[in-house]
């Protein structure tokens, strides 16, 4: 199946990203994709700065990135999207990589194309962050059975069928693991695609720390205790 840019929706969840969101959205707009930006209850001017997006959805309160992505995916599906791409708002992804993900969906006939920063050689990532991500990757392999090299990459693409199987209930950072476990449960095909991450002081400050990893583990555990 061939995907046309006008039928591809890029979902960008943003919380207090007024400083960078305009540039991020502008880069994606240049590629011709449709964009839905979700302002997750920001206290700054994120919604105004995201005006170049085709649609800006405002959560009345801050719910978390997972909740914002689900809102964006619901909207994109309602608009008839053939493919949906999730894209971080902090400027660490390159809009040009979206094309690689979409081509991977087409060529591999997969339902999910997952970005991996580790398939392109050295990442320039600080050692502590690299070990944290490697540990998360090992954990995901053990819990989902998916063989991936990068389990916490926010750049991913999915077909309409794939997106319809995702129903995020982890509002906060644990949604990245939840998506993978739902991909595994769906039985649909997936492929990993090399992508670049541009680390800046801004994006590193917004990234996850060891304490966040522990919270994610607790969130995932707590989610198993109730229906």
């Amino acid at each position: 199946m061939e995907f046309f840019p006008a039928r591809i929706w890029v979902v960008i969840a943003a919380y207090n990203e007024a400083a960078v969101i305009h540039r991020v959205i502008s880069d994606v707009v240049r590629c011709g994709y449709r964009i839905v930006a979700i302002d997750d209850g920001s206290a700054d001017q994120t919604a105004a700065a995201a005006c170049a997006a085709d649609c800006v959805i405002r959560h009345p309160i801050n719910l978390g990135q997972g909740a914002a992505l689900q809102t964006g995916m619901d909207y994109a599906l309602a608009q008839g999207a053939d493919a949906i791409v999730t894209f971080d708002a902090d400027g660490q992804h390159r809009a040009a990589d979206i094309e690689s993900l979409i081509r991977a969906l087409e060529n591999a006939r997969a339902d999910f194309a997952l970005g991996s920063r580790f398939l392109r050689g050295p990442t320039g990532l600080p050692l502590s962050r690299r070990w944290l991500l490697k540990t998360a990757t090992l954990f995901t392999q053990l819990t989902t059975g998916l063989h991936l090299s990068d389990t916490h990459n926010g750049l991913r693409a999915m077909t309409r069928r794939g997106a319809s199987t995702i129903r995020l209930r982890q509002n906060r950072m644990a949604h990245a693991s939840e998506i993978l476990s739902q991909i595994a449960a769906s039985g649909l095909s997936y492929v990993e695609v090399p992508v670049s991450i541009e680390y800046s002081a801004y994006s590193l400050a917004k990234g996850q720390r060891l304490s966040d990893a522990l919270i994610i583990l607790l969130d995932l555990f707590a989610r198993r205790l109730y229906r």
């Binding site: 979700i38 170049a52 959805i57 405002r58 009345p60 309160i61 719910l63 909740a67 689900q70």
Partner: protein, 131 residues
């Protein structure tokens, strides 16, 4: 005897509460019932509590019953946390519905001219060197 009756009533209350919670969070319910039943048993057979306490290194049976009560408190706290998470999920569904309804109430489809001007503006911005 009075203390035993009061403690038993409380433990029976915990077991009933856990039974009511079993549909929503089975793991917590089972855990609560097991601990409550153990507490009931040791309340009425304190000699066994002392034996188990000595075996576990607690020292006295009464201390063991106290520790069981602490366990129950922690389990109930966990259950409250899970209830809060359930409430948060409902709030999320509600907030999402409000956000999406707000979008539906205003025109979202950009006219082609607007889209082209956004594209031009984006091009202009990205042609400029970034700081």
């Amino acid at each position: 005897m009075i203390a035993q009756v009061v403690l038993s009533l409380l433990l029976v209350g915990v077991a009933i509460y856990a039974g009511n919670e079993r549909r929503r969070s089975p793991a917590v319910a089972v855990l609560s019932i097991i601990v409550a039943v153990a507490g009931l048993y040791f309340t009425w057979v304190p000699d066994h509590a002392t034996h188990v306490a000595l075996w576990a290194g607690v020292g006295r049976g009464v201390d063991l019953v106290l520790y069981i009560w602490v366990c129950i408190t922690l389990i109930v706290l966990l259950n409250l946390h899970l209830k809060l998470r359930t409430q948060m999920e409902l709030i999320t569904i509600l907030a999402r519905a409000i956000a999406l309804a707000d979008v539906r109430s205003r025109p979202t489809e950009k006219p082609e001219s607007q889209r082209m001007s956004d594209l031009a503006a984006a091009r202009h911005m990205t042609d400029e060197p970034h700081q």
